[in-house]
């Protein structure tokens, strides 16, 4: 068994969740925050059989879109002073970051 820990943009979370449930996959959703943009995003936990990894990665690729996000200038905070940007910056945010983790044992109670 594998656990796919999948971080996606909020606007893709529900369509992805529905696409996975529609294909009989089990999914758990956690609200999360991106460290760089300090904006909300979504972390999904998807536990699947080893041979289903490619199929689920395919559903994620179809549903989640990379987007450019414009970021207001960060004010200089403590150690960040030298990376202070005086004008808006465009940051490209990927569609999804997926960590495939091996599950030694899965138990349903």
């Amino acid at each position: 068994m594998k656990l796919l820990l999948t971080i996606v943009q909020d606007q893709d979370a529900l369509p992805l969740l529905e696409a996975l449930v529609q294909e009989d996959y089990r999914v758990t959703k956690l609200a999360s925050t991106g460290g760089f943009l300090q904006a909300g995003n979504t972390t999904l936990l998807v536990g699947i059989e080893d041979e289903q990894v490619e199929d689920v990665l395919g559903i994620i690729k179809e549903t989640c879109q990379p987007r450019g996000k414009t970021v207001a200038p960060l004010s200089p905070q403590g150690g960040m002073a030298e990376s202070y940007v005086p004008f808006p910056v465009k940051v490209s945010v990927g569609g999804a970051a997926v960590f495939v983790i091996d599950v030694e044992q899965f138990v349903r109670v």
Copy 2:
């Protein structure tokens, strides 16, 4: 060391947490949402020594109950139209879904 990522129903979360703390186990709680019922549930992180896995699984089995939940009919949404159910459906929700993951290194600061 193993990390038990344990998804339980909200009503079993606190009794389970207390039972584990009572036995000297360390536990961290995350609020989560089930993908299918879109209802709140609880994800617990329990980091334990390898030889404690059976003991902790025993505590989970004693504390967490499977339950039948009646689900209001899902309205047809986009791709879900063909699974639209015009009357309430009973879904059986397990007591717990437990993923046992190997921890390569554990560091306390």
Copy 3:
């Protein structure tokens, strides 16, 4: 690749997040709750290359402080009655609990 699942005290979470982002590391933040103190803390997910583990652990050690926390007496609840403490107790909370987990595959969409 490794995923560092790092549980820290709330007051260290933002300084740690900024220190990691400053060093070009990617970080995702989850709000969590400690099982024993039932008080809010923060769980960070940091996905890094294998050879970066020591560097990131060093940043965590510099930023996160162990602290003593005074806990109001717990009232006897159900099975906890024998551990009822009639006066405030000092509990030492570590700076961070870090689980290093192996990532079989990392996919960016």
